[in-house]
Symmetry: C2
Subunit: 317 residues, 2 copies
């Protein structure tokens, strides 16, 4: 059976080397696993489509790593440790061997970086743009996952890292903004999932910021049935984002692809959060607080007047 | 926050009612679960794209049910019981509310039929054809999953149900074959995953037939490092498939979308297999045997001469 059909030859050549023991060498149609004693599994899935979530000409290794990382970011928001992933690739029929090789090399690089393996997948053709999905599986101590629900009036609103870089990076790649250092485009292409923060017992609620700070904060408000107020002047911006100027502030607050964490922190937990962030060497910033009002997000603008936000974030429809 | 962005309003309206407790009401980005004591999880994923895996005008409820069932079929091949699933839907921007409602209604119907719930998902836009992926999760007694590897010389080759109906059904939908009863088209649109057979201790290896009997049998051969010989006259055909005539035989043996099970059965296990099939009320047929030769599939044709097969099954590339 030397003439393996090309679909399966592609899988054997590019994807089988990525598989771990639970994947049964990808010679099977399923993976088998159980969480270690005392742990639960956390499962999350995201789809990415060329022309929507990434630019069709983006380097295939970066597409692969972004696909993996946006899902690892969801695990990070649950305070889960990544274990493995399942993948679907629906590719145009003229997709080259080199493209698959580079895509798999990107996965291999991040598998090493995050200590995970491929558990299974499906490779199909499509007459349309490249369409990808990835199901990430993590583990968390039983009962210790941090959820979106749980924000309460009086809790502080905290974020990791800096906000808006990726949205500005997309503007850079679309030639509407300069980026002399390349920092903004890098933040668009390669998110850094904020894994490793031990949030259980510290954060009352958490999520990652994928569709825009204000829209995602509204999700946290709805899940906890609270309102939120933030000060735009407190939102941490990188030096390149500050250099873009105040005309880009709203884009930073509403643009997608940050993959920073958004946390609800009771005042009594602030010292523990700061100690944990220091241990993980991750900058964190308090940007506002939750209030006992119906779920709305108020943004106090640069002159301490409420900012009118035309579109709070990304919606696919 | 009455003006939920449309993406999230769609999810709340159509998909949230499908979610089980582990899905955290789909208000979160992840599901949390652990297998019951003594069980392992089985995970499998398949992608489906309009124009490749189904016809763009197919009824949305049937598309949804087929997407679910092709994955449940992979669980059936492991002798696993289905638990739940994660879903991605990448839909053209003009996809209507009615389409989403019918798609979700199809999922709801099969959730009831198979006793499962939605665990999580992602809904995105695409400039191309509808692209779907589904990750199915099942449970199996620890160590009792049946794998693709395990076929040995002397084992019988068995299949459930009838072979080739779905491939002929596609020909019917493409107007190249008549189907007075509608049976063949129904078999294409709505596979019946062969769940419920207790195969551990009976089958030495198993897989579902999704890409064509001969090609999938070749996978089983490679996984077990054995050859296979089958007799075309033994392959069970439905009455409508027999009525199509001998010109369609090769299509039956190589066409995809059967979702029947293909089993390697040691001779000593044949009585147990037959008892189990009777208990599950599922027809099973022995079509050949495995041999100690390098992995190849030989098909003895109608006149007991080897059949020359031009294309053993479906390959996406």
């Amino acid at each position: 059976m030397s003439d393996l059909p090309r679909e399966f030859a592609l899988i054997a050549r590019h994807f089988r080397p990525l598989a771990g023991p639970a994947a049964l060498d990808l010679t099977d149609d399923a993976a088998i696993l159980a969480p270690p004693p005392g742990k639960e599994l956390v499962l999350t899935v995201d789809a990415m489509v060329a022309g929507v979530h990434f630019l069709p000409a983006d380097p295939p290794d970066l597409i692969a790593r972004k696909l993996l990382r946006v899902n690892l970011s969801d695990l990070a928001a649950k305070s889960a440790a990544p274990l493995g992933y399942l993948l679907t690739v629906s590719a145009p029929p003229d997709t080259t061997e080199d493209w698959f090789a580079a895509f798999a090399a990107g996965l291999a690089e991040d598998q090493r970086a995050f200590g995970i393996t491929l558990l299974g997948g499906d490779t199909t053709a499509t007459p349309g743009p490249l369409a990808l999905s990835l199901t990430a599986i993590g583990t968390v101590d039983t009962g210790h996952a941090v959820l979106r629900r749980g924000a309460a009036p009086g809790h502080g609103i905290w974020v990791t890292g800096t906000i808006g870089d990726a949205a500005l990076g997309l503007a850079v790649l679309q030639d509407s903004l300069a980026d002399p250092s390349g920092f903004l485009a890098q933040r668009y292409h390669l998110p850094a999932p904020r894994l490793g923060l031990r949030l259980f017992g510290i954060a009352a609620a958490a999520m990652d910021i994928s569709d825009g700070l204000i829209q995602d904060l509204a999700h946290l408000c709805r899940a906890g049935n609270v309102a939120a107020e933030i000060c735009s002047a407190l939102v941490p911006l990188s030096a390149p984002a500050r250099a873009a100027g105040p005309a880009w502030l709203e884009r930073c607050l509403t643009g997608g692809d940050d993959y920073e964490l958004l946390l609800a922190i009771p005042p009594s937990s602030e010292p523990a959060l700061q100690a944990e962030a220091k241990r993980a060497n991750l900058p964190i910033t308090k940007i506002g607080r939750f209030l006992s009002d119906p779920p709305t997000v108020t943004v106090h603008g640069p002159n301490n007047t409420p900012m009118k936000i035309s579109k709070p974030g990304w919606s696919h429809f």
